[in-house]
């Protein structure tokens, strides 16, 4: 917020081989992450992969089964939440049902005995930012889902803490509001300089907002990278398919006759990386077409492997039709089929082979 002084710049967070188990269930498994001070880190991963659990451990709401957590260089592993000086938006909002919207938002300020005028000033600003101005007197039970989520958001950002944790804070907002909020949150974070850890299942959010993305899979770290790197150089087939909608197409190398000598590799190509090219290297047949507005998503097949291509909506495709597709060799991704590791060294070789 303009004019508001950062209450202290962000603090770095370090997770050192942190695990969390419930009986048999391993929710988080030996996770080590470095979150630099003032950075915006997105936690990304499929449902149930341990994002919320990780966040809750940072917040001190969940016990750590093993490993250590450091905030600002201090070991806070056993420290209660109240002493960690951070803010959080809960996936389930966790609004106080007996307090009205305004009281919910300024709850933390009251706890910290921030003066009344200061409180009112900040509340007005946050309410304005989140479009809650008309609703300040309502009880949470009288709000729509999205409105509740905004109240939760307001409660987290009003405190201007050095660390802010958000668990899917925008999942119930419509696209427009979501886009606005994304911009606002990012701006706020950069302006105040706090450290943000942001759980989301929406990669657009992760990619547009984050400085670094932490990709989790089944409680394990899959990849940490900048959004661009994650998109352009996914380290594993999982990362490759997880990031990008529709997901990257993966072909066994022998789906292409020219590569049948290299069956131990998987080739990746994003749907938007392929385009219609008469005489292109990929000769596919269209199975189905999904209308997306600006484009269509064509479900195609080559040598028994299904894949998707984003094609301009301006041309009409019918199922059964056969299309020829091309791509630039730079857009190719190669993975070792056994280890699952990326093989950048092979890209140009394979690309050349295919286009030959």
């Amino acid at each position: 917020m303009p004019g508001a002084k950062p209450s202290g710049a962000g603090k770095p967070i370090v997770l050192a081989t942190v695990s969390r188990t419930w009986g048999e269930t391993v929710a988080v498994d030996g996770l080590s992450i470095d979150i630099p001070a003032g950075s915006f880190t997105a936690l990304l991963g499929p449902s149930g992969c341990g994002k919320s659990t990780t966040l809750r451990m940072i917040a001190g709401l969940e016990n750590v089964s093993s490993g250590r957590i450091l905030i600002g260089g201090e070991d806070v592993t056993g420290r209660p939440s109240a002493k960690r000086d951070l803010a959080m938006v809960f996936q389930s909002y966790a609004l106080f049902p007996h307090l009205n919207v305004g009281e919910n938002i300024i709850f933390g300020l009251k706890v910290r005995r921030v003066g009344r005028t200061e409180r009112d000033r900040r509340l007005a600003r946050v309410a304005d930012l989140l479009g809650l101005g008309q609703l300040l007197e309502r009880k949470p039970g009288q709000l729509s889902g999205g409105q509740q989520q905004r109240v939760a958001l307001g409660r987290a950002i009003i405190g201007e803490k050095p660390i802010c944790l958000m668990d899917e804070p925008l999942s119930n907002l419509d696209a427009k509001l979501r886009h606005e909020m994304r911009v606002e949150i990012r701006a706020l974070q950069q302006q105040l300089g706090f450290t943000m850890v942001y759980v989301t299942h929406d990669q657009v959010e992760a990619i547009t907002m984050a400085d670094q993305v932490v990709l989790l899979n089944g409680g394990r770290l899959e990849q940490v990278a900048s959004p661009r790197d994650l998109y352009e150089k996914p380290a594993t087939p999982f990362a490759a398919r997880f990031i990008g909608t529709p997901p990257m197409n993966l072909f066994p190398a022998n789906a292409f006759r020219k590569l049948c000598t290299a069956p131990d590799f998987k080739l990746g190509l994003r749907p938007e990386a392929m385009h219609l090219e008469d005489g292109g290297p990929v000769n596919a047949s269209v199975r189905a077409v999904e209308y997306l507005g600006a484009d269509v998503l064509a479900d195609c097949e080559v040598a028994g492997t299904g894949f998707q291509v984003r094609l301009p909506a301006s041309r009409a495709f019918t199922p059964g039709q056969s299309v020829q597709l091309g791509f630039s060799p730079d857009d190719l991704h190669v993975f070792d089929a056994d280890t699952g590791r990326r093989r950048d060294d092979l890209i140009s070789e394979f690309g050349a082979l295919l286009r030959s």
């Binding site: 592993t77 056993g78 420290r79 209660p80 002493k83 389930s92």
Partner: protein, 273 residues
Amino acid sequence: MTGAGFSFDRVLNTFAAWALALLWVLPLAYAIWTAFHPAAYEARFELLAPLTLDNFVKAWDAAPFARYFLNTFLLVSMILAGQFFLGTLAAFAFARFQFPGRNILFTLVLLQLLVMPDILMVENYQTMRMLNLVDTIPAIALPYIASGFGIFLLRQTFMTIPKELDEAARIEGASVLGVLWRVYIPLAKPTYLAYGLVSVSHHWNNFLWPLIVTNSVDTRPVTVGLSIFSAIDSGVEWSVINAATLMTSGPLLIAFLLFQRQFVQSFMRAGIK
């Protein structure tokens, strides 16, 4: 693992909780002390005082306790079943339905909390005689079966249950009673346990009305046996009274020890995560 301030707070709380607990358990502790020692040690607390079971023998011999226990057991089961049944239905009506006369009827329920049943003893005795129930266990139970306390308690609990769960069940096609049975009752389990414990111990220990409305060994509850020792013309014999008390409320204490684990189990809290 925990920080210093944190644990200090903990220690202080633990200490206070224990101090209060010791204070609270004193009467029970005293009852146990006297019950297992000869009367001479009623007021003297020596570590090496001789132990004895005489007090229990004396108490047990004073009345046909085996039969009394059976009666009490039947009595409290009957009352509890009735109270749960009627209370649940009524509380549900008050908590989730709008109908004319609701406030008046609820006032009548609250009034029952105020009216002490003993005051109405003479009238109720007449009713029991009219129903030809004098000297039966149902006669002891009937006046307590509709409990204002229970209705009030369950209503308060039902009202805290999230409305959406009710809605979800109705969408799934559950009838009014289906919703009650499948959603409200399971979610109010801690309250039922609490109420059950309280109701059972209250009626287990109730004395005057059972004494008046019953005449025979076949219908009388344990408290009647116990009361023989509380008559004090010859001075209080704490050791025997306390032995009798422990003997009669022993089953309650044991039941509580068994149930308390369940009682504080956090099955509900996990749900609304």
